[in-house]
């Protein structure tokens, strides 16, 4: 199937409208783009850990999912889905079901980078045929903007506030995509909702992969990041253009830059429109330089890994 917009627009919506996520939320955009990669003849089961997407799409007795769905707890979407996937293999082997199924988890960064990391690592190592998508909005947004392992240095959150003795979060974010890649699974990729074609292409690869897949997708949150709700996709695009969020994939161990950034924009262009960084511009310009330094270092590393240098 093509990745032409007019063809993709004809695909039935698996996540239906009427869910209760905020207007301008990046998460459902990520979900829909990824699910555009579902092959036509295939059924899916979705698993969500606790988070915005979970609470907003399955308010009993309603559900926004036009497919089977399971929520178990916060830190265990990958383990739960590995049980579902194993049950499917058992049923298939016994001839109890005919349909082809794929299994996909959508977890926020809290449920993926932090509390769910062990469960994710276990599932990736065991080799289940499942796709784990992290919709990364760089903090615990469902509980009201607390810092996570995905939150970048200098960010204001309610648990990394700025004050007389603080410029916000002190630590750099962890590189979860590289951690997933270190499991030597067949396919790992980073995507952004601003680059839909790139993401849909990666999703298609994910669904075709016979083994574990990890996709890390940047999904800006205007409530937590403090920008106007109509700017979600624009902010995501700036993250890519500044190399804050590079788009790449690791396919069977081979690193490949999928969106090449020729004129890297200075990080200020990404940080300035977001209220979560406003204090840095007023009081801590040295942190802006430190963020830029980290981006430059990571970008250089990535270019080498991808054979671009």
């Amino acid at each position: 199937m093509s990745t032409k917009l007019k063809d993709l627009a004809k695909k039935p919506q698996i996540l239906s409208g009427g869910h209760r996520l905020c207007a301008g939320c990046g998460a459902p955009i990520a979900v829909r783009q990824v699910l555009m990669g579902v092959p036509d003849d295939v059924k899916i089961v979705v698993a969500c850990p606790t988070g915005c997407l979970e609470v907003s799409t399955t308010i009993y007795p309603y559900t926004s999912w036009n497919c089977s769905y399971i929520h178990c707890a916060f830190e265990n979407a990958a383990a739960t889905l590995s049980g579902v996937e194993t049950a499917y293999r058992s049923c298939k082997e016994q001839g109890k079901i005919k349909e082809e199924y794929r299994f996909i988890a959508f977890g926020g960064d809290g449920g993926t980078y932090d509390i769910g990391l062990q469960s994710l690592s276990g599932a990736l190592e065991r080799g289940h045929r499942l796709i784990y998508v992290c919709y990364n909005n760089e903090a615990y947004m469902n509980t009201g903007i607390q810092r996570s392992g995905a939150t970048i240095k200098g960010t204001w959150t309610t648990t990394s506030p700025f004050g007389n003795n603080s410029y916000g979060k002190k630590e750099n974010q962890k590189n979860l995509t590289a951690i997933a890649a270190a499991h030597n699974i067949p396919y790992v990729a980073q995507g952004s909702i601003s680059h839909w074609k790139d993401l849909v292409r990666k999703a298609k690869k994910a669904f075709a992969t016979d083994g574990p897949v990890f996709l890390n997708v940047l999904t800006p949150c205007h409530r937590g990041w403090r920008f106007p709700m109509e700017k979600t996709v624009e902010i995501a695009k700036l993250a890519v253009q500044t190399c804050m969020w590079p788009l790449y994939e690791v396919e069977n161990g081979k690193w490949n830059l999928t969106v090449k950034v020729r004129d890297k924009k200075p990080i200020e262009e990404y940080l300035k429109p977001q209220g979560r960084f406003a204090h840095l511009f007023k009081k801590s310009p040295e942190v802006l330089a430190a963020i830029q330094e980290n981006i430059d270092r990571e970008w250089e590393k990535l270019l080498h890994l991808c054979g671009e240098k």
Partner: protein
Amino acid sequence: MNSLTKTAALVGTDAVAEAMRQINPDVVAAYPITPQTAIVETFSQMVADGLVKTHMIAVESEHSAMSATIGAASCGIRAMTCTSSQGLALMWELLYIASGLRLPIVMPNVNRSLSAPINIHCDHGDSMGARDSGWIQLFSENAQEAYDNTIQAIRIAEHPDVQLPVMVLMDGFIISHSIDRLDIQDDASVQNFIGTRNPTYSLLDAQSPVSVGTFDSLYGYFFEFKRQQEEGMSNALKVIQEVGKEFGSLFGRPYGLFETVGMEDAEYAVVATSSAAGTIRTEVERLRSKGIPIGMVKLRSFRPFPAVQLAKLLSGLKAVAVFDRSNTFAGNIGGPIFIELRSSLYELEKRPQIINYVFGLGGRDLSVELVKKAVSRLIDIKPNEIIQQNVYYLGLRE
């Protein structure tokens, strides 16, 4: 139906693994922990040898073991796990999810104390910590009962009026690692007895996709769901007895909510569970042979708690001693069985006096001598005596 019986000598963990082989679950997700480990090892070998159709998930923690079991059971298939102690504690939040989702998961739990101090030996602190988690809990006295309970648990859990997970309990090391004589039924008889699972919903029903574990908030139905869950547990009282009776008629070993020794004419009774019942039975039978009117109640079903049935049985007795292999740390008010049993007797017109022996924590041995000491105090209780101390720590170095 003629069931072929084979007599075997097995350690408790192998007896459970044998039951699991005969159940032949679709999925098992498990993680090793002493003293449960031997179940996982034996069963993994059975999978490796092609003796079962089971797909095994060797997970990275008990938390993931229960999570994967929940995911698998939500597909309408039979999924099992097993654990002990800290492993059960790590599963804690998921125990409530398994029962709240009404998933008929069967999990043997080899009873072991909870840290700290770390100790690998038997007490019931682990499963007692899960007593309000909505799981049915069946105690086993020996390897035979652990085997029988594991098989019956499938039928109880999957019964349409119950739809709740079942924990099969056996004492760590005392039963799990001791060789015991037991009767094993033939595979076909066990398969016939357990039948096939007929799920109400399945994630893998392509014609009728389902959302499992949805969000239910302030204006939702949470309270109603939880009330229904209590109903399932109440229904289990009847189902446990029906299944136990059918099991008995087929295999010659009937089961109920509890088992009694000499209760027809008893004036005193000891209430106990698990392997301790064997030691206590020896002393009770010795005293009975000397004409002392004492009996024993071996509690099999702790969840559901057979409050009405026990009250009826104990009404009019002079005194009852309850043996608890765990404590509640509630300020010296006794172990969980004692507290619940005493509450069950409250409405009785002819209420017996009641005392509690907390014993055997961290595997401390319960000798016949200790039981003698406890029982001599019991039969010494006078009808109108005001009991000053009703909780004793038996075998404690003081």
